[in-house]
């Protein structure tokens, strides 16, 4: 279940990128969203970090030309997502809040690193813009995933019940 959600989301992110505007208001971050959604399905945090690392590595190799950039970022995001899951319970609204907060953290961290290593020039408006452009589509996708996981967990007596 977890690996299927992750792989489908990963591929869907690549496919959807071809049908939305490059700088439009529907920037897909489906791999990150799927990582957030599958977090409560893990009993062991080490396993979750492994998923985060390898999905980030695949992201680097398949989609971007950065070697371990996303592998590290996704591991860090996994840490943040687990902390947020400890604070907020697994209901529909809280999951949306976790997704929104994770997207904000993800954008700030990636932008911060790119600026720090002099790959980009600093522009607060560009950062805010990137966050706003990432929220709509990814929140909708997280709702869809929530419904799918909930249906599945009813059968398997998983979390989200």
């Amino acid at each position: 279940m977890k690996i299927i959600i992750l792989i489908v989301s990963f591929l869907l992110e690549g496919v959807i990128s071809n049908f939305v505007s490059i700088n439009g208001y529907f920037a897909p971050l489906f791999t990150l969203v799927s990582l957030i959604m599958i977090c409560p399905l893990f009993d062991d945090s080490t396993n979750y970090y492994k998923y985060a690392f390898f999905s980030g590595l695949a992201y680097d190799l398949f989609y971007t030309d950065t070697i371990i950039f996303h592998a590290i970022i996704f591991c860090f995001m996994a840490f943040i997502i687990m902390r947020l899951n400890l604070v907020l319970t697994d209901n529909f609204i809280n999951i949306l809040i976790i997704v929104a907060l994770s997207i904000v953290f993800y954008r700030i961290i990636t932008y911060g690193i790119l600026v720090f290593i002099n790959s980009m020039s600093f522009d607060v408006l560009a950062l805010v813009d990137s966050i706003l452009k990432s929220l709509i589509l990814n929140l909708i996708y997280s709702m869809l995933l929530f419904i799918i996981i909930k249906k599945f967990s009813r059968k398997k007596k998983y979390v989200y019940s």
């Binding site: 990128s17 505007s21 700088n23 989609y63 030309d65 290593i117």
Partner: protein
């Protein structure tokens, strides 16, 4: 016991600092724009391109069919538009032939093997677009096995979109002109009444889809709507690639030179098929 705990904390702190420093060094190396892909990356990129092409195929099929259905409604208008263009075509073809023969004669006279505008064409399809948001890159389904090389110019029928920055066997990464680092200092020429004036692109604004061209003398008259094309100076872009049309002409803060807003001829949000140009060198 107390001493041991203090030592452990210091040891941990040093380890964390070293780890962060190492991570930053690795990231700085991996994010270098002009680095070449290693063999593992090349293989992964090729596999990714094939997988994405297969997964995208049904989505593209539906998308193309919907677009074809929408276009069917405008067939008559398009027919009229094409008929008008066809009437002008004969004169353009004869003019083109005339210019081509003149260029050939001049090349013979000057004993030149190539001119700045000579190029070879390779067509490609975009398989993924700007994933990761910040990089302003697209991936195409042609690589070194198809003759693609680093720094080749990439165009659409509307104009220049960027250049090849990374090449694997069966896929390549195109850095778009919408990226800050790319559009900086591209040499362009603007058509005036009977000549060209030369300038440099200094930035791109994604909100208005315009480039800013600087370094143009104050006493030159430039009309709105004039064509802006590449000069062919430098090693990357051949001459005569369409950049856009003049949108607004202003002067800089010191009234010493003109600053020109150029509306990009390409819509960077709507890229599907591209052509890679290989510049022919002597």
């Amino acid at each position: 016991m107390y001493k041991k705990r203090r030592f452990d904390k210091r040891y941990l702190f040093i380890l964390v600092v070293i780890a962060i420093a190492l991570v930053l060094v690795v990231l700085a190396v991996s994010l270098q724009k002009d680095r070449d892909l290693n063999p593992i990356e090349k293989v992964a990129k090729d596999i990714g391109t094939v997988v994405l092409k297969v997964v995208s195929a049904p989505f593209n099929f539906v998308h193309d069919n919907i677009e074809a259905m929408i276009e069917k409604d405008n067939v008559y208008e398009k027919y009229k538009e094409l008929k008008n263009k066809e009437e002008q075509l004969d004169s353009v073809i004869s003019q083109n032939d005339n210019l081509r023969s003149e260029v050939d004669k001049l090349k013979e006279t000057l004993d030149l093997n190539t001119v700045l505008s000579d190029k070879v064409y390779l067509n490609a399809t975009i398989v993924s677009r700007n994933i990761g948001y910040w990089y302003e890159e697209v991936t195409i389904d042609k690589g070194s096995k198809n003759g693609i090389e680093k720094d080749m110019a990439v165009v659409t029928p509307k104009g220049l979109i960027g250049k090849i920055t990374k090449v694997s066997n069966y896929s390549s990464t195109v850095q778009l002109l919408s990226n800050d680092h790319m559009s900086d200092k591209i040499s362009v020429k603007i058509k005036t009444k009977d000549d060209y004036v030369y300038g440099l692109i200094s930035m791109y604004d994604s909100k208005t889809n315009t480039y800013t061209v600087e370094g143009i003398s104050e006493n030159v008259d430039i009309d709105k709507g004039a064509d802006v094309v590449t000069t062919g100076m430098g090693t990357v872009f051949p001459s005569g690639l369409m950049i856009g049309k003049v949108k607004e002409v202003t002067t800089d803060n010191f009234d010493l030179s003109k600053v020109i807003e150029v509306e990009a001829s390409v819509d960077f949000d709507d890229l599907d098929y591209v052509t890679v140009l290989k510049r022919v060198s002597n």
